[in-house]
Symmetry: C2
Subunit: 253 residues, 2 copies
């Protein structure tokens, strides 16, 4: 048995998330189907972590074991030929039998993109959340540093979760802004929140973004982020931001 590890991208728009489930189209199903079409084998694809319905991935890491003798350098092309166009394998390598893409993941980086302009950008319409009214970028930035380091993130975790330990460490929480040279008025029209941690609770990035948006809208002061974090109470945080803006950016091992 060989253990193969891949970096894959996907546009999550058309899928009910990563994890296989009955009667739904999922990334895992499509990957396992592609392997089956290629090798005739039924494999179980493991990922660094599930992504929810509508969430995208730029460099998700997966692995599975196979008895196939296809050389590793041919796998990406062979899988891509059997995958829909919204899922693409980029790199493949043979790894030790003990490698497990979820258990071995050390750090993950997510990016949440907000289109902050009166109208959506057609070319990114499925990959960013459109927020048509003004956001106070400085207030949003001010709210971020308190999230860095090791904390109990209960306030930013959907209640229906099976994970009992809610302590995670964030290594970087950064906001980038962009202006479109041709369409915009010189104002910020895209905001990216880039967040790296040793792991993330269920909906954690999206609830942080939902809270951050309320700060940007002036509905809460920047100091609310710390207050909410310390309270360890989901009901004090903002709503879960829409899935379409979220992309799993990379996974470090």
């Amino acid at each position: 048995m060989r253990n193969l590890r891949f970096t894959i991208s996907y546009d999550g728009t058309a899928y009910s998330g990563f994890q296989i489930q009955p009667k739904s189209d999922t990334i895992q199903y499509r990957l396992e189907q592609a392997v089956y079409l290629l090798t005739g084998e039924t494999v179980k694809v493991i990922s660094s972590g599930r992504t929810d319905a509508g969430v995208h991935a730029k460099a998700q890491v997966i692995n599975f074991t196979t008895t196939s003798k296809i050389p590793v350098e041919r796998w990406c092309l062979a899988l891509n030929a059997r995958l829909p166009k919204d899922i693409v394998a980029h790199t493949a390598e043979e790894v030790l039998p003990t490698f497990h893409s979820r258990k071995a993941a050390k750090r993950k980086t997510y990016c949440y993109t907000i289109r902050s302009a009166r109208f959506p950008d057609v070319f990114h319409r499925n990959y960013e959340y459109h927020h048509p009214t003004h956001l106070n970028v400085e207030a949003m930035r001010e709210a971020l540093p308190c999230l860095l380091g090791e904390h109990d993130f209960t306030s930013f975790c959907t209640v229906r979760t099976d994970k009992e330990i809610k302590v995670r460490t964030l290594y970087e929480v950064r906001m980038e802004t962009e202006s479109d040279a041709y369409l915009a008025t010189g104002k910020v029209d895209r905001i990216r929140l880039i967040i790296t941690g040793n792991g993330f609770l269920y909906n954690m990035v999206r609830i942080i973004v939902g809270t951050l948006l309320q700060i940007g809208e002036g509905k809460r002061p920047p100091s609310d982020m710390l207050r909410v974090l310390e309270a360890q109470d989901r009901s004090l945080a903002g709503p879960t931001a829409e899935a379409m803006g979220l992309t799993l950016w990379k996974v470090d091992y």
Copy 2:
């Protein structure tokens, strides 16, 4: 009658081009339909120029005359609510009755994007042409300066055209390259050709790109661009590059 001018973006993937035609879905049809739904009027939408099937626009300019009294600042939101999500109006203004978006256009800029990597980028898969094998970027760059200025571009014009005068002036022909920070190997993985002129012949940018790709592939020397240009013979140029990589970037008046 008021004459209204708009900047619009569209993802051309799903359309048979800009210009209205029987039994096909077109950008012009969708725009006229949206105005009809809004005002009950049948208008004729004029653009700075047609774009072909599959070609996109970041900042196309259109105008039409209307008797509607809707204030100009409400038009974009009202039209967008009646347009599919792949067509978006960004700016609206009332202009002189004599303004004609095609006749008044002074300069147009197109961008042709090539994904130059082994595998496509899922997030841009409909907006760039995927070229999986190596391209010699330096050779491509060397071929460009000869196109600047006023020339007869017969060699870069599809034969079935009704325009008799094939002389156009190019003000800028520039190549930009990008590397993806997360997926790539440090190599160039995206090439953009940005080209500004006082007008373009039918398929002109796509035939220039088709010729340029052959230069990048090493099938022709960079000096071929000048040789082909001077010959005024379409049969000497490369093939017409795929529509999906082409975007009308902006129009100057």
